[in-house]
Symmetry: C2
């Protein structure tokens, strides 16, 4: 337990300056400040020790000076923030007590003061790796689950295409689709990832988009009858090629468009006339809308993990000093599976 | 009744050659051929006398050599086709008898032989103008009704924006939205149309998009709180500006993109990242999917017409010789309201 006024060193990942293009390691620095581990008297805040930090593209976006809609830029000189798993050190909030494990938004630092602890989820199930709450049991898990089961209206036997399929969301959606009896093809940006999709994750097929020069022809090859369901995390030319290859009454679930975040102007999409031609539904999804359904999600996905019906790939970087490189790896395609940083294991 | 072998002169609107850009009158010609008004023995075809022809943008599209998806080009040297109202002259099909009024796809000519009469709807209600079955009680009526009530999920008090609002679909959607208690703004391409929207059709406000240089700013002015529901018939820059001004959980019903049909390549749409940011649903609609619900639609809209709760504007061109000019007027913005050609009044 933290004694009154105990002050600890606190390593933090700081934004040095706003970024122009994709983030580079040199845009961040790790520096040591200090923190009191005791909640101020009368405050409803909690103090947590951070265990695992989640590297997500939306963290990278917030390194830019302009961040669109509902998501603010980080402040140069201050630490980054993102989803993480943490242990409560001291609490002014009745729902949490010292020693509780939680997941939610924390600072990219060893210890954080959380002023709005009501936004955190308490972790009750620890028979699975704690890091899972940064991904498969956290934000990306809910995204994949809500996108597939709540938005996409999938049916057995449908043709499902997933871009960025080796990523945190894509690998889960692909496995949900296989469990439902769909035909599932994924794309990724390296031979290694393509092998993983086919051999470890059970996709019916997969391809390296970097080796394809005509994405329209590629998709026609993998989906001669067309695509019923596309999980969009990429945007740009991939989306335009997908629109040409959608089937009647197809659905496109839009979680993100990682290829577009660091362009000065997003690429134009030219094939939207396929929406009325093929009665396509294209729908954006933001995970926070599904947070109220977290326990329904957890019942489904925990059971699948325990029954070993889901494979989950993590790419775990050791120590907070590795966090800038881990974040950057999301944008240069180097990370395979969910990118996590371990700050401490307990 | 047509006596055996009666042969009549039959004026037809013929496609002279495929068009490159928007259709011109000189791409069509009206010529007289001959037709037997008697169905061949053993055929299930019917022969009809065409009364009203519907000028629709999809008719214009079919003058191009390349027509995307589920909709074929016309054949040079042959008559155009489109929706129309007709009277049965002779019938080999048990459901229809001589003298019945029908609507559905007919040739652009005085008389047509219809080989698939099962696709036609019988007209039972003649207390409204027969020409209404080319629009408000036909294809555009179902499009507006299905788009608004079945796809858009509208709610009282929502902010609705309609482009091409003085057109056949737009004027109806706007009135449906007003009947539901929405705030409705429309845009059109002339001062005259804007006045009609505000003074005759009961829109809350309207503007001439040709006088606006920054559509994003324009939409912010008319919708300071954003747009909940957009009815898309235009595409291009208008859609990009709308995406910037959509509200959380907004819906975009895509019926068509008339600004794009005659471009060699459709314009790029750059602002689709707003789909996930704002959880927008964008859904394409094709009217034929709702033909099985025609009687449900008819109950609703006939009642509204009889109670004088709907205003319906038609632009009626006299005689089949005026059909090429009437079709062209859709694409140069000259037609106000539903463009119809009267071939014969009975």
């Amino acid at each position: 337990m933290a004694s009154d006024g105990e002050v600890m060193n606190n390593k933090q990942v700081i934004l040095k300056h706003f970024v122009d293009g994709a983030p580079k390691e040199s845009d961040m620095l790790v520096k040591t400040s200090s923190i009191s581990l005791k909640v101020e008297s009368g405050s409803k805040a909690i103090v947590v020790k951070n265990l695992y930090l989640s590297c997500d593209s939306y963290v990278g976006i917030r390194l830019k000076n302009f961040v669109p809609h509902e998501c603010s830029s980080f402040t140069p000189g201050s630490p980054l923030e993102g989803f993480g798993v943490a242990k409560v050190v001291d609490s002014g909030y009745p729902k949490f007590k010292e020693g509780d494990l939680v997941w939610g938004t924390v600072g990219w630092e060893e210890y954080s003061v959380i002023k709005n602890p009501e936004s955190l989820f308490k972790i009750h199930h620890t028979d699975v790796p704690l890091s899972y709450y940064t991904g498969i049991l956290g934000m990306q898990g809910i995204t994949a689950w809500a996108g597939f089961y709540k938005v996409a209206a999938p049916k057995k036997g449908e043709n499902v295409y997933i871009s960025a399929a080796a990523g945190a969301v894509g690998q889960l959606v692909g496995q949900f689709a296989k469990l439902m009896g769909c035909y599932v093809v994924g794309s990724a940006g390296s031979k290694e990832k393509v092998e993983i999709l086919k051999k470890k994750l059970g996709f019916d097929d997969a391809f390296n988009y970097k080796e394809e020069h005509d994405l329209n022809a590629t998709l026609k090859r993998y989906f001669p009858e067309g695509i019923d369901l596309y999980f969009e995390t990429v945007g740009g030319k991939m989306l335009d090629a997908v629109l040409l290859n959608m089937r009647l009454h197809g659905r496109i679930v839009v979680c993100g468009m990682i290829s577009q975040y660091y362009l000065s102007e997003p690429e134009g999409i030219h094939n939207l006339m396929n929406l009325p031609y093929k009665r396509i539904r294209m729908e954006g999804l933001a995970v926070i809308d599904y947070f109220p359904q977290y326990s329904e999600f957890l019942d489904v996905v925990l059971a699948l993990i325990r029954e070993e019906k889901l494979v989950y790939l993590e790419d775990i970087a050791e120590a907070i000093e590795s966090a800038p490189a881990a974040l950057v790896s999301l944008f240069n395609g180097r990370s395979v599976g969910k990118q996590v940083v371990v700050v401490a294991r307990k």
